[in-house]
């Protein structure tokens, strides 16, 4: 059965029925992740250790200096508190712009001193998108206290486009990661010789979950180049496969499974930061009908009781 890109692509899907509950669940999970990420002691820690990162951002110098001064005393608690509001869905429309600004500035400070793309890379754009959505139309205090008037149609396409954009963001992260590995093309083959995978697995073993749980390596990491070549090719294959998100929904389950397998393997071998974030964005790969069925069933059960 061939894929009809013209009928199944992401732009067409944005105009299809969505799920108010899917968007609401995403809002809650994103809020929880924001609370977790902004509660880290990393912010206090990076103030103490020397700044060895050489990162750049789009902000002017005066703003960066200001952010340096307010990040820990103000931005961190503000982000945490507004994250709680986002989870509860309270005053959602009003807190989202402030939360977005607060989050982006707080993690600008983080990135300037701790050169790592997690967790902000997964969060900042979906958080920005939520500003333009009706994400508190369900599972929120705004709805409970009638602060907002939700749409009558819980399957409106208004709830679909943000979810598809989040799926697009997921695709961007992985496809760009794959491209970064093979570009410029004259060093792409070099990446595939397995050296990076070996370096990571060999050196991180004594601090990996695999070690903590099993005290045993999967195989001899000091040799066996072919296994590292296979792992390198597989990682790039999975990352590029995510491009199918743009063209069709049919590969979503396969993409989800492959991403989880990849992240779980990385988690075991010492790359710990990304699995939880990938799981949250992967919510966008689930069909909206699933959520409508799930919540309709719940509602019916509650009514019959």
């Amino acid at each position: 059965m061939g894929i009809n890109i013209r009928e199944e692509n992401i732009l067409v899907r944005m105009e299809q029925p969505g799920s108010v509950h899917q968007l609401a669940v995403f809002r809650i999970l994103l809020g929880l992740q924001i609370i977790y990420s902004s509660s880290g002691k990393i912010f206090q820690y990076v103030l103490q250790v020397p700044d060895i990162s050489n990162t750049k951002n789009i902000f002017p110098l005066w703003l960066n200096q200001w952010v340096d001064a307010i990040a820990v005393p103000y931005l961190q608690p503000v982000t945490q508190i507004l994250g709680i509001f986002l989870v509860l869905g309270l005053f959602t429309r009003y807190i989202l712009p402030i939360l977005f600004i607060s989050f982006v500035l707080l993690f600008s400070f983080y990135f300037s001193r701790h050169n790592a793309p997690h967790p902000w890379l997964y969060i900042w754009f979906p958080l920005l998108l939520l500003n333009f959505t009706k994400s508190s139309d369900a599972l929120s205090l705004d709805k409970l206290f009638s602060f907002i008037k939700p749409l009558h149609d819980a399957s409106s396409k208004v709830y679909r486009w943000p979810i598809e954009m989040i799926a697009a963001w997921l695709a961007y992260i992985y496809v760009a990661a794959g491209m970064a590995k093979i570009l410029p093309i004259y060093k792409g083959w070099h990446w595939l010789d397995g050296g990076t995978s070996q370096d990571m697995m060999y050196h991180r073993f004594l601090y990996s979950m695999d070690f903590y749980l099993f005290k045993h390596s999967f195989f001899d990491y000091s040799q066996n180049q072919w296994i590292f070549i296979v792992l390198s090719i597989a990682s790039i294959g999975i990352e590029f496969f995510c491009i199918m998100i743009f063209f069709t929904r049919r590969c979503h389950i396969a993409i989800f499974i492959l991403l989880m397998v990849m992240h779980f393997f990385l988690y075991l071998t010492g790359v710990l930061g990304f699995m939880q974030l990938a799981l949250i964005l992967s919510l966008s790969l689930i069909h909206p009908v699933f959520f409508e069925k799930l919540f309709t069933t719940q509602k019916l059960k509650t009514t019959s009781v």
């Binding site: 880290g40 020397p50 789009i58 486009w161 970064a180 990446w191 990076t196 060999y202 903590y212 040799q223």
Partner: protein, 242 residues
């Protein structure tokens, strides 16, 4: 079928374009490496032809770019959101194209530069902090602490990023040791020492050597991930006194 051809051509042209854009010393390589000069000379006409074809198709209201632009315009998304999406798209496209990052626009290139494969020593070493407990010793497993289920000391707030920073990124800094030492003192552990954890990938033999002088030696002489760890002055002095 036309779409697939267009996408494939765009992929080839963009790969060539990004390779040129991501080559820092472009003119130096053109002058010094003959093959690279040929690559650039072949690439430029391909890229120009792709741009020409794309613009021509767009003006004739056909092709994938025209379809995407028109469909995106017609989707019922708030106008401001559309502008925001386009700005983010362009920002990220620039980041990916040039292979550079300007927060929050990111090329996702943390594993961009490959490490060479080589047959390594069978035994891997890691110098870790440990403390005395009940007549024995206990290793401070820094990355374990970021797991809710496995953490023994730090708990909430000690997430993966700080675990990574303390274990690798800042392991050679005195301030990193001071931070960890302070955290452990709050939990009733006064003194941290550095010892050597090692694992043989062939025999699967796992050992931890609490000998403080051996730790100093291994720290200076072994190929350690992210370089040597910071060893406190009292350990260096105690070892000198032996």
């Amino acid at each position: 079928m036309r779409w697939i051809k267009e996408i494939a051509f765009a992929f080839v042209a963009l790969t060539l374009l990004m390779t040129i854009l991501q080559t820092d010393s472009l003119f130096h390589y053109i002058q010094t490496i003959f093959l690279f000069k040929i690559f650039v000379l072949v690439s430029i006409p391909v890229i120009v032809f792709w741009i020409f074809m794309s613009i021509r198709d767009y003006l004739h209201q056909r092709g994938i770019f025209y379809y995407c632009a028109q469909t995106f315009r017609s989707i019922s998304i708030p106008s401001i959101a559309k502008y925001v999406i386009v700005i983010v798209l362009l920002g990220n496209f620039m980041a990916i194209g040039f292979g550079k990052q300007h927060y929050p626009f990111y090329d996702v290139g943390m594993y961009r530069w490959p490490k060479e494969y080589w047959n390594r020593d069978k035994t891997a070493y890691e110098v870790k902090y440990y403390y005395q407990q009940s007549g024995g010793y206990k290793i401070l497993e820094l990355r374990k602490e970021s797991s809710f289920l496995l953490a023994e000391h730090f708990g909430w707030g000690y997430s993966n990023d700080i675990a990574y920073a303390t274990t690798y990124f800042h392991k050679g800094e005195k301030e990193n040791f001071k931070f960890l030492s302070h955290e452990m003192k709050e939990r009733g552990i006064d003194t941290l020492w550095a010892g050597v954890h090692s694992y043989n990938f062939e025999t699967h033999e796992l050992t931890f050597d609490p000998d403080i002088c051996n730790a100093i030696n291994i720290n200076q002489t072994s190929d350690l991930y992210y370089g040597p760890i910071y060893i406190p002055t009292y350990q260096l002095e105690k070892c000198d006194g032996h």
